[in-house]
Point group: C2
Chain length 469, copies 2
C-alpha cells in the first residue's frame, strides 16, 4: 500500500466510524409524536419528582417517557416539539364533581337558602329549559371553560348524559359521565325504571371508549328508594361500571337518613351493599370516623367541593381526616349554578386555606396535598389512577403547560405553593388530552369559542323569558 492508499483507507475507515456511530445514535433515538421540551415538570408520580429543565415524550396519546431535557432528547425525537422553557408542565387537572350543562345557569340566583334556590329558580328553570339541545350548548360552554383552565378530566352528573358524552368526546376531553336516576319525573326519564333502561343503553354504548367512562348517577340516598339503589348497584356489578352519587352533603340529609334508616348515610349505603371502588361519592361533608373508614375499606372515591359547600353553607368536609386515612378524595367545583365557575385553581386555593381555617392548624392540607387532590388523588377518586393524574410512562398524555412569569407569580420559591396559592386559570397556555392538543397558546383547537358564546347569550335570553311566564 502506498501512502495515498493508506491515507484513503484511513479516510474510509474514519468515515465508516462516523456512519456507524450516527447509525447507532439513530437506532437509539425513537421517533414519537410529540416532545414537550424544557420547563419545570411536576410529575406527581410516586416519588413526587419535580424535574427542572425537564421533558416529556408522547406517542399514540400515551406518555413514553419523562425526564430531563438531556435524557429525553438523547432517547426521543418528536415529530412535533412544544417548547415549554420557563413554564410549568403539570398533569391535567381532574374536576371530580360537576353538572356541566348548568353552566348556562351560572349566577342565575345567588345568596339564597338552598330550598328557595332550588324551588324558586333551579327547578323551574330546569323544567322549562332542559332538553338535549340545552344540554349540548351548556356542555360545550363548560368544556371551553374547563380546557381554558387546564382541566382535562371531569366527572359529571346530569340528564341527557349521552349527548354530554358526544360533546365531550368531540372536544377531546376525558370524562366520567353519569346518567341521572332520581325518584321524580325529569327531562329525560319519567321514572327511575325508565332512567335505568336509559343508563344501561348509555353505559353499553360508551363502555369501551378511551376518553369516556359512562356511569350511572343515582342522585342521592334521600331521592331514591333502597330497592332502586340496589337495582343500580346490581346493574353496575353486571356491567362492571361506575356509579356517581351525592352523599351526606347537608346536615339535614344526614339527620333525615338517620331518622329513616337508623343509620348515617354511608353506613346505610354500605349496609345495602351499595359501595365499591367504582363508587364516586360527591360532597361527603357530614361523615363520622367510621364512615371515613368505610370509604377507605371499600375503595370509594370522594369529591370535595369546598366553594359550593361554603356558598350553600353546607358545612366543612373532614378532609384532613380523609387524607390521614388515605381516602381517594379529589376536588370538584360542583355546577356553575352554585359556585359560579369550573375553576380548579380557585378551588385548590380554597381547599388549602379552608382546612387550615376549619382546624385552626396552619399546617393542615399543605399546598402539595391540595395539588395532589387536584391531580393523582382525584384520578384515584374516579378509579382512573392507572390512566391519568400524573406524568409517568404508560399513562395518558393529559398535560397542562402554564406560564410562571406573570407579575402575580414572581418571584417563585416553591412550585407547589405557586401552583396552589398563586396560579390562576388564565396562566394555562397549552393543554393536551391523550396527546391531542386541545388548547394551543390559549386558542381552543377542538371547540368553536365564538359559536359557544353566541349560544350562551341566546340561552340566557330564552331562560329569562321562560321564567317570566
Amino acid at each position: 500500500m502506498n501512502k495515498l492508499n493508506v491515507l484513503l483507507a484511513s479516510f474510509l475507515c474514519f468515515s465508516l466510524t462516523i456512519a456507524v456511530s450516527a447509525q447507532g445514535t439513530r437506532s437509539r433515538v425513537a421517533v414519537v409524536d410529540t416532545v414537550i421540551l424544557g420547563g419545570t415538570v411536576v410529575t406527581m408520580d410516586g416519588g413526587r419528582r419535580v424535574i427542572e429543565d425537564g421533558a416529556v415524550a408522547i406517542k399514540g396519546g400515551v406518555i413514553e417517557a419523562v425526564g430531563t431535557r438531556k435524557e429525553i432528547t438523547a432517547g426521543f425525537r418528536g415529530r412535533r416539539v412544544i417548547n415549554a422553557a420557563g413554564k410549568a408542565v403539570v398533569p391535567g387537572l381532574i374536576n371530580t364533581h360537576t353538572h356541566i350543562p348548568m353552566t348556562l345557569f351560572r349566577g342565575i340566583s345567588d345568596d339564597l337558602d338552598l330550598n328557595d334556590w332550588l324551588t324558586q329558580f333551579i327547578f323551574p328553570a330546569e323544567a322549562k329549559n332542559v332538553d338535549e339541545a340545552f344540554v349540548r350548548a351548556g356542555t360545550r360552554l363548560g368544556l371551553a371553560e374547563m380546557i381554558r383552565g387546564g382541566t382535562t378530566t371531569y366527572c359529571d352528573m346530569y340528564y341527557f348524559e349521552d349527548a354530554i358524552a358526544e360533546e365531550t368526546k368531540k372536544a377531546g376531553v376525558r370524562g366520567v359521565l353519569g346518567q341521572t336516576i332520581i325518584q321524580f319525573p325529569v327531562a329525560d326519564a319519567k321514572t327511575p325504571e325508565d332512567a335505568l333502561v336509559l343508563t344501561e343503553r348509555f353505559i353499553k354504548r360508551w363502555q369501551n371508549d378511551t376518553l369516556i367512562t359512562p356511569a350511572a348517577a343515582p342522585h342521592a340516598p334521600y331521592t331514591l328508594s333502597t330497592d332502586h339503589l340496589k337495582a343500580i348497584k346490581a346493574q353496575s356489578d353486571r356491567l362492571n361500571s361506575t356509579v356517581v352519587i351525592h352523599v351526606a352533603e347537608t346536615k339535614k340529609e344526614r339527620d333525615d337518613i338517620l331518622t329513616q334508616y337508623g343509620k348515617t348515610p354511608v353506613e346505610y349505603l354500605d349496609s345495602i351493599g351499595f359501595l365499591s371502588n367504582r363508587t364516586i361519592a360527591a360532597h361527603s361533608v357530614w361523615l363520622t370516623d367510621n364512615e371515613i373508614a368505610i370509604y377507605k375499606r371499600r375503595g370509594v372515591g370522594s369529591a370535595h367541593c369546598p366553594q359550593s359547600n361554603m356558598k350553600l353553607a353546607s358545612g366543612t368536609a373532614r378532609i384532613p381526616e380523609m387524607l390521614a386515612a388515605d381516602v381517594a378524595v379529589g376536588i370538584g367545583t360542583d355546577g356553575p349554578a352554585s359556585n359560579n365557575d369550573l375553576d380548579m385553581w380557585d378551588e385548590m386555593d380554597t381547599v388549602a386555606k379552608l382546612h387550615k381555617h376549619a382546624t385552626g392548624d396552619p399546617k393542615a392540607v399543605p399546598a402539595e396535598a391540595a395539588f395532589e387532590m387536584a391531580t393523582i388523588r382525584g384520578a384515584r377518586a374516579l378509579n382512573l389512577g392507572n390512566v391519568t393524574g400524573s406524568l409517568e410512562g404508560g399513562k395518558a398524555a393529559d398535560i397542562v403547560i402554564l406560564d410562571l412569569d406573570g407579575v402575580h407569580q414572581l418571584p417563585m420559591y416553591n412550585i407547589y405553593s405557586h401552583l396552589v396559592y398563586t396560579t390562576k386559570a388564565s396562566d394555562v397556555r397549552t393543554v393536551l388530552i391523550a396527546g391531542r392538543v386541545v388548547m394551543q397558546d390559549r386558542r381552543l383547537m377542538t371547540l368553536n369559542e365564538n359559536a359557544i358564546k353566541i349560544d350562551a347569550r341566546r340561552y340566557r335570553d330564552k331562560i329569562l323569558n321562560s321564567l317570566k311566564n
Copy 2:
C-alpha cells in the same frame, strides 16, 4: 315685499334659526379630557345605580358626570374616547391592607405555624434583605400586580414608607401609606422614638399630595407600649393624619392584651383615647359586640383579610355583625408572603363565601355587599369616602373597565354576582386612576413590566442566598 323677498327672508330666518340652535347645542356640550362610552356602568353611588349602555365624563382627573350614553354624549365631548361597549365599568378596587414590599417574599414559606413562619423565615429574610432598594423593587412588583387586577387604591404598612410613596406616586396609584413604628429595632429605625421622627417627616412631606395619604403605622397594641401609642395618637391629632394598625388578629393577641391591661384590644385602645375616624384597624378578627360598637361610634375603619386569616388559621372576623352595625369595613389581601397574592377578586369571592360558611346562612354577605366592601365601603374605611370608591360627579376618576365575555363569564344574569363570583383579575382590561390611564388593554403605562420581572428574579436569588448563610 314681493314673493321672492318673502321667500328670501324666510330662508334667512330659517338659516339663522339653525345657526343659533347649532350654536346653542355647541355651547351646551362641554369638552372634557376623557369620555368612557358604553358598557354596564356599576356606580356604587348612594342609589346603587347600574347603567346599561352608560358613559362617564372625566376632566382634570375628576368625574364630571355619569349617565347613559345618550345623556353623556349630549353634554360632553371627550378629547379621548374609550370604548367600553360590552364591558363593565366599575369603581377601582380598594385594597385596605397590604405590606407591599413583601411581594418579594411571595410563597417563601407556606403551611407553617405563625411562629415558625415568622421566626424561621420572615424575620431572618427581612433582617438580611430589607433596605430601601428592596422596598422599591417589591413595591413596583406589587403595584404592577395590583394595577393588572384593577386595584386603584391600597393601604400599606411597612418600612421605608417614603420610598414606597415615591414609587406609588410615580406609578400613579392612590395609597394610604403607613410608616411602621414598632418596639424593637428594624431596618429603618432603631427605636420607636426614631420611627416617630421619621414618621413626622414622612407625613409632612406628603400631606398635601393628591394621591398619597401618609400615615403612621404603629404595628399592633402588643408590640408598642401604651405611652408610645399615646404619642402616636398625639402626633396624628397634631398633624390631622391617618393611623394604620393591626388589631385583634389572633386569639392569643386578644387574650394577652386582656391579661396585660384587663381589657380586650379595642376597649384598651379606646380607653387610652387612641381611636378616631382616622384610624384604620386591620384584621379585627376577635371583636366583641361592644368593640364593634366602638368602631362604629369612633368611625374607625377596618380591613378584613379573609384569605390571610384562613391561611394562618387566625379565626373569622365578624363581618355580618360589622355590616349590620354599618362599620366602615373594607377588604385587604394582607402581604403576599401570607396570601400569596394581591388579588382583590379572589378576596371578594372568599368574603362572600366564607361568611355564609361561618354563619350557616347562605344569605349572609351577598355579592353586592362584598363588592361594596371592595369599593365604597373600603374607601370609607380609609377615610377616603369622599374621594374614591364610587363613580359619581366630583369624585376622582378611579375607574376599571373589564371584560364580560370570557367563556368563564357567560351567560350573565346579575352583575354583582358576576363581579364577585365569576370575574378574575385577568378580566381587567383598562385602569384609570385620577383620570390617568395606568393600564390600557392590559398594557401597563406607568411601570416597566420587564424591568420589574428581572428585579424580582434577581431578588429571589439574593434572598435565597442570604438564608443559606
